[in-house]
């Protein structure tokens, strides 16, 4: 399943554990349904993912099969979950990407600019920058793949959602699903829906919940969500600075190299060695930044969205509660006026039933959310610490050997 990409730069070495699982730890990797993205192709505007499924479930025609899907189809699947009333009680699985294309555009632009500026730099500088850009592009690309894969895995691991028909169609149907992206009208509708929802949300949030568990969860999630948002933004900034510093070291290395090639004096040889050191140490620094990005920033981003989804779940439940209470009032009024009592009764019963169903599943979901969160943080923090240590030790050794050599020569 793991194929080497064609444009692999020297920086990308294979890693033992499976990437996307890194964010969500305790997904049951049971044999009944395993989903992953085995391949991906980037074509100008679109990215085509090859979704590979292994399953022992009887409703699939084969045990192992692959289909090609595009981003829009993922969105369609996600939306189908969101819009399905039956799934109101579940944390809607987070599709963590709004639109992958802008990131690619940025890289492509840079590559173009590079091509234009070819004349002004030396050959080495140009090839180096080109390699870097390609690596960046590749990194973004891989991230996109990972995000889509996480989504699918979450669905596959969820006891209820994995049985969803749309999901099975998504996995199996090897023709184009012909989902069209939302046209302007639909997008506008969505926008308004969101506005209404947030206004409603504010009203609903004001309703105090009788149930302690949910009340506690509400306050907790609100605060947590805000803080995760803050942390995520700041983490991104920090990593950005780190990358900048690593870039600078790259330029220092080239500068020292030019100085070193002026002559063949002792000093020049010294410069060449130091330049080499900077090159290597910069690669390590860049990897550190990338790992921090992966383990920390992505983790925070993911839980930012998950906590948002959890908040949405609570909102739906509160909405259900309000509806239930309204239905109660309507029933009382109907009884008082002795008109349309049956209708009111059925309505009330419906609301009650809906509310209870949501409450139950929501409780479970929220507990799961907590467990998942703790586990994910644990895994990522441990891996982060291990990677930092690994890189720091590598760096240290590099520096020690270089300093040893340099001192030996002086």
């Amino acid at each position: 399943m793991q194929q080497e990409g064609l444009d692999d730069g020297p920086d990308f070495l294979s890693e033992e554990d499976r990437g996307p699982r890194a964010v969500n730890v305790d997904l049951e990797m049971d044999a009944t349904l395993q989903v992953d993205i085995s391949d991906a192709l980037s074509e100008r505007d679109k990215v085509k993912f090859t979704v590979h499924t292994k399953s022992t479930l009887p409703n699939f025609k084969q045990n192992e099969f692959s289909v090609v899907r595009q981003h829009e189809e993922f969105i369609w699947l996600h939306d189908s979950f969101v819009e399905n009333e039956d799934y109101a009680g579940y944390i809607c699985l987070v599709l963590c990407l709004a639109d992958p294309r802008p990131d690619f555009d940025a890289s492509r632009e840079k590559l173009q600019k590079l091509g234009e500026g070819e004349g002004s730099m030396t050959k080495e500088e140009f090839t180096k920058m080109k390699q870097e850009l390609e690596a960046e592009y590749l990194a973004i690309f891989k991230k996109t793949v990972a995000m889509h894969e996480v989504f699918l895995c979450r669905v596959a691991a969820h006891p209820i959602l994995r049985k969803d028909l749309n999901f099975h169609v998504f996995l199996e149907y090897n023709q184009d699903l012909s989902v069209r992206g939302k046209n302007k009208k639909e997008k506008l509708e969505d926008f308004f829906k969101n506005v209404v929802k947030s206004a409603d949300g504010v009203l609903v949030a004001g309703v105090k919940d009788v149930d302690d568990f949910f009340e506690h969860e509400k306050t907790f999630l609100l605060e947590y969500h805000n803080r995760v948002k803050d942390a995520s933004a700041k983490c991104d900034r920090m990593i950005r600075s780190h990358k900048n510093a690593a870039d600078d070291m790259n330029r220092i290395a080239s500068s020292l190299y030019t100085l070193g090639t002026q002559d063949s004096t002792d000093l020049c040889k010294f410069f060449l060695k130091v330049s080499e050191l900077f090159e290597k140490t910069r690669k390590i620094e860049a990897r550190v930044a990338a790992d921090e990005d992966l383990k920390l920033a992505d983790l925070l981003k993911y839980y930012l969205r998950e906590s948002q989804a959890a908040k949405d779940l609570l909102y739906r439940r509160s909405r259900g509660l309000v509806d239930y209470e309204n239905a109660n009032k309507a029933l009382d009024k109907a009884r008082a006026k002795n008109r349309d009592v049956l209708q009111a009764e059925t309505n009330q019963q419906l609301c009650c039933h809906k509310f209870e169903k949501i409450s139950e599943s929501a409780k479970q979901e929220l507990i799961d959310f907590k467990t998942r969160r703790v586990a994910a943080f644990r895994k990522n923090l441990v891996e982060l610490a291990e990677l930092e240590l690994k890189h720091a030790k590598g760096n240290l050794q590099l520096l020690q050997s270089c300093v040893g050599v340099l001192k030996g020569n002086t």
């Binding site: 700041k234 600075s241 130091v274 990338a290 703790v374 240290l396």
Partner: protein
């Protein structure tokens, strides 16, 4: 573009294929000492070459036998002091031809047992060796013992360096990289003071000196304690300049003076005016900064002012160290006055908007013009090649400096962002209701806090070691170019004199033809005068040429040493950083694993 991406896990950036070996050997004591020592290039000089030199009599004729008490020598220092003697011999300016003679005979004996010292030294003290100021056998021993003690206290005002230095001496003697002669000397360490075996060593060392051309000096200056004096816009910062020396030309062995920035500039002006005529490379002082100074004048408390003052203090210290390590400049009375005198007259002509300031600008402009008008007829390609080299190098250093500056800025940014992130993590940890996770997150916040400190220090080292080194050398290369210019000017003067002479000769011829005997006499006198001038200027020109060559070679050696030592120091700082980083994360790992 079509990019085929295999199914790749996310963390491919992470792992390294090679597992580094952790059992690297610990560094030798010597290097550890180097690492512990203070951050001055002088220290580097001292340790690598072991010793500081004593000029015994730096000027012809001005030799009084120094009266030094006989302190007890720390063991092992003897060998080093002796080296200094020889080195100093080579570094003495030309007026020591007589002293060269006795050296060869001494050198023969130098190979022998060091115990013979006393007699040999006495023999050394005839003819010009008298100039060394050691007329009696006792004195040299005393002198050396004194030297030894002085060298035992190398850098400035840190007394705890004594022990380190003593240790370093011992290690140095066992340093395998030293050449064989040095080993001989080291082996002679042990017998303490008053042994003029020391005296024997100088000659062999002197030969050594010619081969190795070490750079040694024995004046140690430090610039410390910046203090704001006065208030408001008239405030200034006074620095304490401390000197330790055993040179006889100074009134005492250790003294301090308080100087302000304009005093340093004034010194530079005086030196340029005088020494540049000889083609010396005069180290330039740090630049003026109106913005920086105004901030300081207003208040010295905020971090940017503190940094500015520290940057300036360090630069001034390096500036002085470069001056005193230059053999010619050290002899200049202005330098002595600067270091010694309690009250220096205000150097007003360094102010930008003064009359003198304007005068300077005008002179500079006119100089530039005159340089353009007469293109020098370069007979010696060495100068042209060197000039090109210097130019190119300056450009590249500028580029490198710009990048290092950018690195400093990004690191400072990283520092800020890390601090902010740490706080945010702490908040997150607070709101997390799983206790173990909450604790782990707080720990992570602490780690990030420590990282911020680390980044801060790293940025400091980036700046104070690397960036300032580059800035210094960019300025110094400018000074090098300046001395090349001096040579061109000397050549121009010579040419002008020649053309004037020519004109005078023609005038004389005319007078001769017109038969005016009274004016003839005058004309003849003028011709004689100009002939003398021409020869003088020609000699000047040649002399400057030689000085410039010597200076440039010396500069290049200094530069190589400086760069190497500073960059190694910088890398070592990075190394330390990584070590601490490792500690932080190692402490965090169990916390992360404890999350349940």
């Amino acid at each position: 573009m079509v990019l085929d991406c295999g199914r790749k896990p996310e963390n491919q950036h992470a792992s390294c294929r090679k597992t580094p070996s952790w059992d690297s050997k610990p560094r030798t004591t010597f290097y550890q000492l180097l690492h512990h020592t203070t951050s001055r290039s002088q220290w580097h000089h001292l340790l690598l070459h072991g010793v500081s030199v004593i000029h015994i009599g730096d000027q012809q004729g001005s030799l009084q036998p120094p009266t030094f008490p006989i302190p007890s020598l720390p063991p092992g220092t003897l060998s080093l002091t002796t080296r200094t003697m020889a080195s100093s011999a080579d570094r003495n300016p030309p007026p020591f031809p007589a002293s060269e003679e006795p050296q060869p005979e001494l050198s023969d004996m130098a190979e022998g047992d060091s115990d013979e010292g006393e007699d040999i030294f006495v023999s050394n003290s005839h003819p010009a060796s008298v100039s060394r100021g050691v007329s009696q056998p006792e004195e040299p021993a005393d002198l050396f013992s004194e030297e030894a003690t002085t060298t035992a206290k190398p850098n400035g005002v840190h007394s705890d360096d004594d022990d380190l230095f003593a240790e370093a001496q011992a290690d140095l003697s066992s340093d395998p990289s030293s050449d064989s002669t040095r080993k001989d000397l080291s082996s002679s360490s042990g017998p303490p003071s008053a042994r003029s075996p020391a005296a024997l060593q100088p000659t062999s060392l002197e030969q050594l000196e010619e081969d190795e051309a070490k750079d040694i000096f024995d004046v140690d200056v430090a610039v410390t304690n910046p203090e704001k004096v006065g208030d408001g816009m008239n405030a200034y910062v006074a620095y304490k300049v401390s000197t330790r020396t055993s040179l006889p030309m100074f009134k005492s062995k250790a003294f301090t003076a308080r100087r302000r920035f304009s005093d340093f500039l004034g010194l530079y002006e005086k030196l340029s005016a005088k020494q540049s005529l000889h083609g010396c490379i005069i180290p330039p002082p740090p630049e003026k900064s109106v913005v920086g100074m105004t901030k300081v004048k207003v208040g010295m408390d905020d971090p940017s002012s503190v940094e500015f003052v520290e940057k300036r203090r360090a630069a001034l210290e390096r500036y002085l160290q470069r001056i005193v390590s230059h053999p010619l400049l050290l002899q200049d009375p202005d330098v002595r006055e600067f270091l010694e005198r309690d009250d220096l007259p205000r150097a007003v002509n360094t102010q930008a908007l003064s009359g003198a300031g304007f005068l300077k600008m005008i002179t500079k402009a006119s100089d530039a013009v005159s340089k353009m008008t007469i293109k020098m007829n370069e007979s010696d390609t060495w100068f042209e090649d060197k000039f090109q080299e210097v130019d190119m190098e300056e450009q590249q250093l500028r580029k490198l400096h710009a990048v290092v500056d950018s690195l400093v800025n990004h690191r400072k940014e990283l520092c800020m962002n890390t601090a902010v992130f740490a706080k945010s993590m702490a908040m997150l940890g607070n709101s997390e209701d799983n206790t173990a996770l909450s604790r782990a997150l707080s720990q992570l916040a602490e780690v990030e806090d420590k990282m911020e400190q680390l980044h801060q220090e790293q940025a400091g080292s980036d700046f104070f070691i690397f960036a300032e080194l580059l800035a210094d050398y960019i300025r110094l290369l400018g000074a090098v170019r300046g001395c090349f210019d001096q040579r061109v000017r000397a050549w121009q003067r010579w040419q002008e004199a020649q053309s004037t002479l020519q004109k005078k000769r023609e005038a004389e011829a005319k007078l001769l033809w017109a038969n005016k005997p009274d004016k003839l006499q005058q004309a003849k006198e003028e011709i004689a005068e100009w002939e003398a001038k021409v020869t003088q200027y020609e000699r000047d020109f040649d002399r400057i040429g030689m000085t410039v060559r010597k200076e440039v070679l010396r500069f290049e050696k200094e530069k190589a040493k400086d760069f190497k030592s500073q960059i190694i120091k910088y890398l070592e700082a990075m190394l330390q950083s990584q070590q601490r980083l490792i500690k932080f994360w190692e402490a965090f790992l169990p916390e992360a694993k404890a999350i349940a």
